[in-house]
Symmetry: D3
Subunit: 188 residues, 6 copies
Amino acid sequence: MTEAPMRRFDTPDLEELPEDVRERITEEREEAGFTPNVFPAFAYRPSHFRAFFEYHDALVNDTALEREEIEMLVVTVSGINDCLYCVVAHGALVRIYADDPQLADQLATNYRSADLSERHQAMLEFAELLTESPGRVDDAAVEALVEAGFTREQVWDIASVVAYYNLSNRMATVADMRPNEEFYTLGR
Amino acid sequence: MTEAPMRRFDTPDLEELPEDVRERITEEREEAGFTPNVFPAFAYRPSHFRAFFEYHDALVNDTALEREEIEMLVVTVSGINDCLYCVVAHGALVRIYADDPQLADQLATNYRSADLSERHQAMLEFAELLTESPGRVDDAAVEALVEAGFTREQVWDIASVVAYYNLSNRMATVADMRPNEEFYTLGR
Amino acid sequence: MTEAPMRRFDTPDLEELPEDVRERITEEREEAGFTPNVFPAFAYRPSHFRAFFEYHDALVNDTALEREEIEMLVVTVSGINDCLYCVVAHGALVRIYADDPQLADQLATNYRSADLSERHQAMLEFAELLTESPGRVDDAAVEALVEAGFTREQVWDIASVVAYYNLSNRMATVADMRPNEEFYTLGR
Amino acid sequence: MTEAPMRRFDTPDLEELPEDVRERITEEREEAGFTPNVFPAFAYRPSHFRAFFEYHDALVNDTALEREEIEMLVVTVSGINDCLYCVVAHGALVRIYADDPQLADQLATNYRSADLSERHQAMLEFAELLTESPGRVDDAAVEALVEAGFTREQVWDIASVVAYYNLSNRMATVADMRPNEEFYTLGR
Amino acid sequence: MTEAPMRRFDTPDLEELPEDVRERITEEREEAGFTPNVFPAFAYRPSHFRAFFEYHDALVNDTALEREEIEMLVVTVSGINDCLYCVVAHGALVRIYADDPQLADQLATNYRSADLSERHQAMLEFAELLTESPGRVDDAAVEALVEAGFTREQVWDIASVVAYYNLSNRMATVADMRPNEEFYTLGR
Amino acid sequence: MTEAPMRRFDTPDLEELPEDVRERITEEREEAGFTPNVFPAFAYRPSHFRAFFEYHDALVNDTALEREEIEMLVVTVSGINDCLYCVVAHGALVRIYADDPQLADQLATNYRSADLSERHQAMLEFAELLTESPGRVDDAAVEALVEAGFTREQVWDIASVVAYYNLSNRMATVADMRPNEEFYTLGR
């Protein structure tokens, strides 16, 4: 018997969900071979589900960043925010997109111990600052990204990924979303 | 001459924006009598604009909370995150929706000094914990909301508002969005 | 009916106060058009009242700083210390002395988002460090003020204002002093 | 040759000080057998000197607390704020007033490791909270003092001592005031 | 080609190490099938090597705790201290000793999201407090362990494991010890 | 009657301890003229006693640092960790080895207020970082030591002393070890 997608809220019945939400969940299941728990969990409020995944899709499809960079940001931010679902699920995506079986565990623990280009080191330093102390972000912090070679558009996209996972981490932790067991081993 | 909507990114030309984005901005201007700067700023990436405001609309329209409670959460979270745009813009909304000219300044400074029901005190304590230490949210923190009289659905909605403004605050600070001068005085 | 000046201690009867204390309170009322609540509140202990306002008067009258700079320091420090009375009362003074209706809200939320000269930026960075981490003040922190153009005497005066409001903020918060409603709107 | 009273500001010439300031310094020297460095240091601004010591005198002379309790508060607060002058000078006073050669070192390091009545444990817990997180002081924190047996007046006095040394610690650290060597050994 | 055991210090030549150190390293390699990098790394100072592993052996062999509990403590502490080597190496040991492929990732991210008995929840809360704020450990913190069912001897052993990995984590991070690639997948 | 060596665990009977442990305790008493309480306290578990003191002996005997430097590190780290036993006992050792009656109180309170060479300033900055935020130690932090003139071997030894007292401080605080009264005055 599989674990419930989240522990602090009842997961809605797939059958009773609006058509478009049900379809998206089905697509995800077909693509991944299993249904990542964030989908049925977020269907708790279909209106939130739609906006949340529309935002997610924009972040990964309409971006000046590499997908690998996006997932590196997600795991680093989620590690700082101590978010189990996001560390485990996006850890699998880091392993797959970066084609590196160890990078996710390194980023989740401490990006300073990961093998990173100076560019990615700067990117994750910014992610750390924006996550931990958003009010301390200043011109110097943004300029450090530009000096590391990022365009203005990429700065926006980095900030957006960090900001979005500061939302996601909080929802996943409050709901106590459970990572599907597949995520723990994918790409190792 | 009016101040630019944000200082760290160029604001796109209204004319060059996709039709739907332009229309939303026009509607907002007509409703408020001025264009709140978050709209032209977020149009930097139309795909983000759409998801961001769809999420916002869901939070305020499809909710088990009072609008006044939502805005109280926003100002409290934004004060903790030291976010100028959100404190000033939503400060105006607190004054209007709560029909109280002082509450916003109280919440932005320290919700412990505001006149609050026990219910709202509990709501803002949870908002503070979820904003400052998301990884420390546990069963006891969620149960405290239930004991203060919130339904499960309201707990989800409180968490969603807090999480969403943890995204918004970070985007507004990175972009250095400027509060329209109207917001400083509205509802005082 | 007006709100009590403070909530955690009984405010003394004006009639029963020593002559000099009563006179000072009367002068303040005549000057401001209302009695700022910090005066009757601090009269709880007349001996403290005398020293507290003597110190205050020395800080604003015998100083190498502009009054506007003093009030900018006060609002920044009080914002960091989450002190409602001081943010609201001195916010009014910033608006008046700096002749700027928005600066106080900017400083109370995040001085990094205010329009400041480099000199004032350096002054408020020092105020933040001295408020949050007094033990970390070192030669470099003091030299940064000198490099920003402050004389030694001005450094003493900056430190004194920051130190004094670290006292005031704590007394106002423990007593739960209430800002007079006039302060919320003065100078907007 | 003795060490200068402070390192970051020039100490004024005793001869050139106003009569009343010079007299107070002379009295202190006669009483202690040496001139505690805080006196010549604070004479940097005679107007501050007068208010600072008037406040100090009010705190120790017009109080509902025992002098021993006042000095225990001072050393605890100064230890939290990492202030060398105040820990060493008031450490001597704790040894003398509490007639205990070890208590000062215990309080400066960690009041949890000192031998304290429940009353004093509560007093120092409050001092710690008010020093570290002034904005988190709430009704419960104040009521804990009342439950530990303190009168309202004593609560005011405790808060005042803590607040005042949050001022003093900051001035002593910015000035880099040096504890007189006598203080290191007095009362051991 | 394998990665060096640590990056900030040269690893000594096995041949040049004292006999007893070399023998211990050989034993470890034979037992694990590979040489865990902490062994050659700590051989940088043979005198430290001997004491460090003698202490380790005492902690796991002369204990009132289950080995599974010891490794749970190690991963929790190492996650809080952001120590890559210890999280990855002892993560493998948690998977093996607890016979649970997911527990290590849960503990490294956030023990509040792990499936734990109340006893182990209490154990890890204590580990967190002792790691993050050693000076705040008080009678109540120790009594919470006793109330959760631990004997005095077990309390000593829990404290010892936490204290020892506060040493180990710091050495591993300063040396930048690299987890052997075997550890990343063992027991998954 | 003398105070018990620790308050949260029963101290074992000297007579019932293993021969080697008893001998070490006797030696220490003969050398110091009294039995430092850490010895009978750690004898709670003879296997820990042996490894703990073997490590200690390696740190002070097989080292590229001066003994005075080691004790300066210990007092600084113990002050940060608020550990009474270690501050007081090693404070005495700083006074003796550095032949300076004031240095220990300065380091325990705030190393920034001590008279230090740039070399020792750098050493204690590193100790502070490694104690407070072990996961933030990076190449730059280690290189700062090298630039201050320390050899690689000395860097290892500095890190080892800091790491070891992060263990010791935690055991002393959990056990509530009491400094012998002799330590309070030795070397003053």
